[in-house]
Structures are given as C-alpha cells and as structure tokens.
Amino acid sequence: MFYPNLIRERETIMSEKNLRYSLYLGCVIPNRYPFIEQSIRNTFKELGIELVDMQGASCCPAPGVFRGFDIATWLVIGARNISIAEENEADITLGCNGCYATLLEVNHQLKHDKEKRDMVNKHLAKIGREFKGTIEVKHLIEVLYYDFGIDKLKDYVKIKFPDLRVGVHYGCHIIKDSSHRPWGGEFEEPRFFDELVEITGAKSIDYKDKLMCCGAGGAVRTASLEVSLDFTREKLENMRKVSVDCCMVCCPFCHLQMDLGQMQVNDKFKDIIGESYKLPIIFYNQLLGLAMGMNPGDLGLVAAHDLKGVPPFISIQPFMEKIKEQMV
C-alpha cells in the first residue's frame, strides 16, 4: 500500500537523479495511434527526460484479454517485457492504462511472491532471460506528476488556454486497483489528472459519471462491440451535456474507443443520439506540448499524409481552432 508520506519521500529521492526511463510502447500507440508516440517523445525531450527504447518488446499482454485467458502466460510474457527494461537499467514509463495495469501488477507480484518468480524464471531461462526485480513501472502521468513534479512542470508552461473546456477521462487502470497505485488510495475522486490539465490554464469540467469506464477494456470490445459502444455513448452524452471542447485521455485504448468508437456510435446508435457526436479526443502530452509553446506538427496534431481509414476518425479541428483563438 502506498501512503502520501511515502510518496513524498520517493519524490525527493527521484528529484536528485537525472530522469531516465525505458519507454514501453505497447500495441495501440505504435501500431494505430503513432501521433501519441510523437507527442510523448517530443514533450519528454523538451522536458529533458531521457527515454530509452525497449528493443523487442511485445504486447504487455493485455490485462483484460490475455490475463483473462491464462494468468501464467500473462505473467511470463509480462516478465519478459520487464526484463528488457531491467537490461536498460531504467524504470519503465508508459502511456497506456492497460499496459500499466499489466506491467505494474506483474512486477509487484513477482517481486513479492518467490514461488511465482521461480516459475516465471524457469520459463524465461529457456530464452536466456531473467526477471530480477530491479526496476519500477510508472505511468507517464505519474512521472510528470511526481518524478518530474507538477510544480516544476508549471514553469515550462508558456501559453495558457483559459477558454478551453476539457472533459477529463481518467480511464480505469491508472487509478484502480488503488492499493497498488501511487495516488494515496484515492479512487472515487482523484484530482491528479485534472491538476495536470489545469496547469495549462484549461478548465476541467465536471460531468456525470466522470470516472466511468470507456467500455473497451476487459475483452468487452472483442466480446460484444455493441455493449462496449453503449458505455462510450453514455460517456459522450454526459460530456455533451456540459459542452466541453475536447475529451482528454491518457490511454490509447480509451483514445481508440472514444475516437473510432465515437464514429461507430454515430452510426450504430444514430436513431437514439439525435445529432452526431463531434468531440475531439486529445492525449494529455498533446495539450501539454501546446502549453509549452511547442509546434502542433511535433505533437501529432497535424496529419502530413493522405491515408484513408486511419485515426483520428473524429476531426480535432474544432479543438485546434479553440487553441488558435487563445494564442493570438
């Protein structure tokens, strides 16, 4: 269990070191939403946080899907990924709530359960790898909030967007299971992501069932697209009621569900939703980069290709217009 005083201790220890992390990409970021990868790499570079690639990393494997099929496989493949970061001698940072759930949980279980660790290492030995338990796993939101520090981050903000109304979507696994997360056990009303959004001057607008799941996780998107989209429809409706300019996410699977899923909701539920939803979905590093005065073209906000059938499926132009208005 993490407690606030422990967190503060850890924070001071970290601030004395140079920040250097293994960047774990996962599946959706590099293979479907590469503009998120661009925004992560460039904002971290600007902040002076070093990122080391994890050569040969696979799917984490996904906590709802593959953990649900076979826990032993999930542990072993997860441990292989962690072992790559151990070779890098750098803690893992990542931008996906699902990967966070898997790698944090696998790392925690294997560090504390010798029987499991022996089982996993027996398998890993066959490919010449080993889980040593020498690193930690941190969401990039956690790195920005604690390790880099939200106060220091404020000094990097050059432009503020006071007219921007943001619907913050945390996603589930960045907060829960709260006993293994670094937010002091808070799971009903967390504030850390809202605070990170608000340092850009933007307003985090409260909306009904803000912490509700996007509907994609737990293998539900694969099991029943309709059920999963009904979650998304409800979230979109609740955000429309408070008229936000964009939905802010810190997970590519939530991003996919709110973006691609939004297009599918507009199609499948057109008889009940009235007007189609046109809510731009923005990843946190994209907004942060803009506030730091970076070029939108370096933050995955400008598409320099003419490909069809690729994200973003819902235009982010209304968001960009809103930003431009406030830059003048």
């Binding site: 040969g56 649900g68 099929f69």
Partner: protein, 186 residues
C-alpha cells in the same frame, strides 16, 4: 404432505470454489451477498451481468457461471473491488473464473482469434498493413517501432514462452474454431 423437490439447484459441485480457494481466493467465502458490486457495475447497467450472482454461483460451484456469456461482459474497471465492504478482490476473481472457463472450453471465437494474432505477431494489435508504417513515418517516428516488429527472433521468443507455459494448446484449438466457423459460413 409431500417433501419439497429441489428443482433449481440439481447438484452442488465444489470444484469451482475449491479452485478459487487453491488459487488464493479463499476469502470468497466471506461474501455477504450485499450487492454493492452489482450496484456500481457500469456493465450491469446495460447488460444481464450481475456480479453478485457470479460470486454466488462460483461459491456454489455451478458450471453455468463459466458458460454464461455475461462473464465476458465485465470491462475489469475494478469499481466492485474498490467498493466491496468485505474487501474481496472481486475483479481478480472474475479474471480467474475466466481462466477456468477457458480451460473448460468456454471461450468466444473472437477471443480465440485474438490469441492466434498474439501468437503469430507478439501483439494484440499488430501492424498488419503498410499504411500503418507510412502513417508512423508521417508523424516523424521510426517506420518500424522498436518492438517485436523489428526482428522475427523476438516473435520466436514470445512463441517459445507461450509453448513453454502450454498456452499454445488453447491457441491450436483456436485454429479448429476458425475452421468450424468457416465451414458454417459455407
């Protein structure tokens, strides 16, 4: 007067609840069936998923808990686990029940295909079209990400591990499921 006949629960087996106990979830017996889990479940709002009922059936060892498709409608959002007044790791138990379901052959064809994809590529969502490489380049990141996609030897490592654990048996059985599906479509 005649005795009442049991026409609801024909047989109480304990193997499912025993498996839960063996896996370290002995506290499932502490469930008081209060229904907090069901009340906070965002999936239960729109589907027939009733978390309280899943836990009850698991305690009773009813096979239907594994064969009901509702088991796969939990998005693992962990709200039930957080709010459980008995501190039961409900979501983790559901994930473990899914493992038991898969071992007994209760798995959706879509999920088996996902396993196959994972085995073949090392990714749940792989780069399976050149447009994704072109898209990557257009955003100024490497054409091929520094993952299993960089070299076949990494995919081999993943496959060796999957076989070593024995999960490949489930995936091979996925191939049959695929064939059956195709036969049905014809």
């Amino acid at each position: 007067m005649e005795d009442l006949k049991s026409d609801r629960i024909l047989e109480i087996k304990d193997d499912i609840s025993n498996e839960l106990r063996k896996a370290g979830y002995a506290e499932i017996g502490a469930c008081i069936q209060c229904g907090n889990c069901t009340a906070g479940c965002p999936s239960g709002r729109r589907t027939a998923l009733r978390t309280r009922s899943i836990i009850r059936k698991a305690i009773l060892g009813l096979e239907e808990v594994l064969s009901n498709k509702e088991l796969w409608l939990c998005t693992t959002c962990y709200t039930c686990l957080e709010r459980c007044p008995r501190n039961l790791p409900i979501t983790d138990m559901i994930i473990f029940l899914r493992n038991l379901a898969v071992q007994r052959g209760y798995i959706l064809p879509n999920h088996l295909n996902l396993c196959r994809m994972f085995y073949d590529t090392g990714h749940g969502v792989p780069i399976n079209d050149e447009k994704w490489n072109i898209m990557r380049e257009s955003y100024g990141v490497s054409r091929v990400p520094p993952t299993v996609h960089t070299h076949p030897k990494y995919v081999k490592e993943v496959q060796e591990l999957i076989s070593s654990v024995g999960f490949d048996k489930t995936i091979t059985w996925g191939k049959y499921a695929k064939k059956e599906e195709k036969a049905e479509q014809k």
